[in-house]
């Protein structure tokens, strides 16, 4: 019981971010037919830009940031995220889409990813950083932990889950209920048709590109104080989110979101498996989402129907 609860909490906290990333990948895929390989690095950019504005590049303790500065930092981080997302789309995706060069946008988004990572690594050369937390969770419970059914659980985790799932529900609401969302889905169904009925496609697509990155980055910023953050963390989160999107066959919005949450929980469960005193799944759990996604991709029928040229 206690293990199950621990797995559920850890898994949902991670899975919420995966789900948001998966929604982002799926939306971009449906809108443009492209995979934004730089997604994870874009999130990392948002997180570390926030860190830079909040406390600079030096070592910090968890509470050394004021509420106002933190809010400003988050705002800056998200704005940078949107700006780089939009610029990235206009520079390394759209030109190749117009030219019909698949390998062009694949390599272009990968180049953006590795360039972002190089920038972050040269500004933040330390192995890991402690992210400031404006909310004093460690004063709650026993040093920030609470005992539930025999399991010791970080109280922060509930907050992270709430924010991630709240953002995910917000994203779903945005897609399903608002004018912008309907416009985006119209583009995803049929870009030319949407253009004909007056949806500003050329404006919406780059904005969506930046916005989905920012939403996922916000969830990442909220989750960051729970553990030391490294530059390498977010690219991997991006890959797991891509795996979740592939498992959900890039279907929006619920399947992508649920796949993300499910993979988060499954990953946490595998990591918790004990055989005697060993924990054989600990290192391998990260492979689970990737393996599942590969299995789903391998089971796809050959893409003949689309290629028939009819």
């Amino acid at each position: 019981m206690s293990v199950a609860l621990q797995v559920a909490i850890t898994g949902l906290a991670a899975g919420g971010v995966y789900g948001l990333v998966a929604v982002g990948y799926s939306l971009v895929f449906r809108l443009t037919g492209t995979i934004a390989f730089a997604f994870g690095d874009l999130i990392g950019l948002g997180v570390f830009a926030t860190l830079l504005v909040a406390v600079g590049t030096g070592p910090v303790s968890q509470t050394s940031v004021g509420g106002a500065r933190y809010a400003l930092a988050v705002l800056c981080g998200l704005l940078i995220c949107v700006a780089v997302g939009v610029a990235g789309y206009l520079l390394v995706v759209e030109p190749f889409l117009l030219r019909g060069s698949t390998v062009g946008w694949i390599a272009g988004t990968l180049a953006l990813a590795f360039a972002l990572r190089a920038v972050l690594q040269s500004v933040f050369p330390r192995e890991a950083y402690v992210f400031p937390d404006p909310i004093p969770f460690e004063r709650l419970g026993t040093d920030g932990f609470v005992e539930i059914g025999g399991a010791s659980i970080q109280i922060r985790a509930f907050y992270v889950i709430a924010v991630a799932i709240g953002l995910a529900l917000g994203a779903v609401w945005l897609l399903e209920r608002t004018r912008i969302g309907r416009g985006l889905r119209a583009i995803a169904e049929d870009a030319d048709g949407a253009r004909l009925v007056g949806v500003p496609v050329d404006l919406f697509v780059p904005i969506a590109f930046g916005l989905v990155g920012a939403i996922a980055a916000l969830a990442a910023i909220v989750a960051s104080p729970s553990a030391p953050v490294t530059v390498e963390t977010w690219p991997l989160v991006g890959v797991k989110g891509l795996a979740a999107a592939a498992v959900a066959r890039f279907v929006l919005p619920w399947p992508a979101l649920v796949a993300g949450l499910g993979l988060g929980v499954a990953e946490a469960a595998v990591a918790e498996v004990h055989v005697g005193s060993l924990q054989p799944g600990a290192g391998w759990s990260a492979l689970l989402p990737l393996g599942l996604a590969l299995a789903v991709l391998a089971a796809r029928p050959p893409d003949d129907a689309r290629d028939d040229g009819e």
Binding site: A286, L287, D307
Partner: protein, 617 residues
């Protein structure tokens, strides 16, 4: 080999002038490109003799091995059109296996590493190579990350963060010093370049390029996409594995961090920057990537940044710049500039025409429904050798559906299709091509970047044996396979009157010429039944007349021909029998004049009289 030609033609007693002529011939065969290649290769081998002291030969050796892996990737990215993002995995696999087998003789370890990498490549190919480029990229990207995570998760195998330490290898009593590694690396690059160039020329290369450039067109010609791509993946992975296995004895440690997604990305960068359309493009690409390292350090010193991470950034910028130029990479850009793009001398056509005689194709009671909509409600057709049947009717009358049921693109809900005694029913399209039923597409496949000859040769190569190893080592059979496919292609081009266009690029051809190329590609599969989908679409009056001549000559060869057509002038011109479809059922059947006079047919065509001589209705 030019040398052998020369020595064979020289027998005792021949005069000096004849010897000279033989030499001139040999020199002509040994093209300027081969001279350049020989010179560069020799210079590369001699480089350590003149190297300045501050350039470490082990770095050069490292990049030589990477170049071999990149050349191997070029086969997938270039002709294959497959953006593989996991080439680094095969390098890493070769390295780890060769490092773990440190106690066995090096040659055995190398063989094992190559074999395992080849198997892994075949597995990746079998799993994902049939997918569209987007999904292939996602899958290979996940594999690249998965491999990196697996290495991290198994410290016992790869020795934790420090990696597996290996001793310097010894082969045949020779210690593998960095200089020996460098020479080995240069030779491996040469073997990879020549081998992949040979694959590109072979039947396998034609299959890969056809399916990479125009999947729909190549599949309609019966190209075995999955098999061809899986073989290419296995071959490419084997080379990368061998390069990695050798490189680990140079580095003296198998460091898991070195085989992450970044390595795969760098190899892809090399392919795209250098240009994967050329076998040597990736080598130039690796050279540039190698230069980005020192350049990045220089930028780092100038800006005073704490770490020198600018190398990766410069590589990324270089890649974006080259991609944005739209030239397809440095080497292809230079080749275009020099107009050196080899328009290979056209092979001589075989003396005898070896067209197969046609066979009868019969359909009985074909029914096809799409949900509620009945596309075909019981179609009977009898196509006979030496006759042209035209299938006409308004849009949505079921013509294309009928064609796809005959070619195997769709499976009928009811009814049979028979080729002579063969019952076809649910037989897939590729098997039907093998039996001799081939179709063309309404929109002729673009075959962008291929010569007309090579595009047609895709059809001729579709059913040829295409073993990757044989093609790589240019065995006589593999070389003959590529040559014969092109000879058949030239013959087919001749049959449609386009022989002089053999060396032109398909993207330079007119729409009507491209349609003829598509028909020639279909003919190159040596069909017994030819199904044509609106061959006259968009053609001018003269071109329609030429098309009529072509079809009549095919009928003269005894081929069974069905043509779905809107152009009633062509139909009237060539058809022996006209079948008029309307809303999925046969409205009329008979000779062109009978059908044209049928009032029901006139009514079906918008309720007005159809002047048969009109160009396009």
């Amino acid at each position: 080999m030019p040398g052998t030609t020369a020595s064979e033609s020289v027998t005792p007693g021949r005069t000096f002038s004849e010897l000279r002529r033989a030499l001139v011939e040999a020199r002509r065969a040994w093209s300027s490109r081969a001279w350049l290649g020989t010179a560069v290769f020799t210079a590369a081998l001699l480089l350590p003799l003149v190297l300045p002291r501050d350039v470490a030969v082990d770095r050069l050796a490292h990049y030589a091995y990477l170049a071999a892996a990149a050349v191997a990737l070029g086969l997938l990215v270039g002709p294959g059109g497959m953006p593989s993002l996991c080439q680094g995995v095969f390098v890493g696999l070769g390295a780890v296996i060769s490092a773990r087998l440190g106690s066995v003789p090096l040659l055995v370890a190398l063989a094992c590493a190559t074999a395992v990498a080849a198997l892994a490549g075949a597995a990746v190919g079998a799993g994902f190579a049939r997918l569209r480029a987007v999904y292939l990229a996602v899958a290979t990207w996940l594999i690249a990350w998965g491999f990196a995570l697996a290495l991290l998760a198994s410290p016992r195998i790869v020795g934790g963060a420090e990696g597996v330490v290996v001793g310097p290898g010894r082969v045949a009593g020779v210690d593998l010093t960095p200089t020996v590694h460098y020479e080995l690396g240069v030779v491996l690059v040469l073997v990879a370049v020549l081998g992949t160039a040979s694959v590109r020329r072979s039947a396998l290369g034609l299959q890969l390029e056809g399916v990479g450039v125009t999947p729909a067109g190549a599949l309609a010609l019966g190209v075995p996409r999955g098999a061809a791509r899986t073989r290419a993946f296995a071959l490419s992975a084997a080379l990368a594995g061998l390069a990695g296995a050798l490189a680990v004895h140079l580095a003296l440690v198998a460091d898991p961090a070195a085989y992450g997604p970044l390595l795969s990305f760098q190899l892809l960068v090399a392919c795209l920057v250098g240009g994967a359309a050329s076998p040597v493009g990736p080598v130039v690409g690796i050279a540039l990537v190698a230069l980005m390292g020192p350049a990045g350090e220089a930028v780092g010193r100038l800006t005073g940044a704490e770490t020198a991470r600018f190398g990766a950034m410069l590589s990324a910028l270089l890649l974006v710049a080259v991609l944005a130029s739209g030239t397809g990479g440095i080497v292809p850009a230079i080749e275009t500039r020099l107009r050196a793009r080899s328009r290979r001398a056209a092979p001589e056509a075989p003396a005898e025409r070896q067209a197969r005689a046609g066979e009868p194709l019969a359909a009985q009671g074909l029914v096809k429904r799409f949900g509620e909509h009945v596309a075909l409600a019981g179609l009977d057709l009898d196509l006979e050798p030496g006759r042209i049947t035209a299938l006409v009717g308004p849009n949505g009358s079921g013509k294309s559906t009928a064609l796809r049921l005959l070619s195997g693109g769709l499976v009928a809900d009811e009814g049979r299709v028979r080729l002579a005694e063969h019952v076809l029913d649910a037989l897939p399209a590729r098997e039907r091509v093998r039996l001799g039923i081939v179709r063309t597409l309404q929109r002729p496949p673009a075959f962008t970047g291929m010569t007309a000859l090579d595009a047609v040769a895709v059809g001729a190569a579709a059913d040829r044996p295409a073993r990757a190893g044989r093609a790589f080592f240019a065995t006589p059979a593999a070389r003959a396979g590529g040559r014969r496919a092109r000879a058949d292609a030239l013959f087919a081009l001749d049959a449609v009157g386009l022989r002089e266009a053999a060396g032109r690029r398909c993207d330079e051809l007119t729409g009507a010429e491209r349609q003829l190329v598509a028909i020639a590609a279909a003919l190159a599969t040596k069909p017994v039944v030819l199904l044509l989908d609106e061959p006259a679409a968009g053609a001018g009056a003269q071109e329609v007349a030429h098309l009529g001549d072509v079809l009549r000559s095919l009928r003269g060869d005894g081929l069974t021909v069905l043509v779905v057509e809107h152009n009633l002038r062509l139909v009237h011109d060539v058809a022996d029998t006209v079948v008029v479809l309307d809303r999925g059922a046969i409205l009329a059947r008979g000779s062109p004049t009978d059908v044209a006079d049928d009032p029901r047919v006139r009514a079906a065509y918008l309720g007005r009289a159809v002047p048969v001589a009109d160009d396009d209705i």
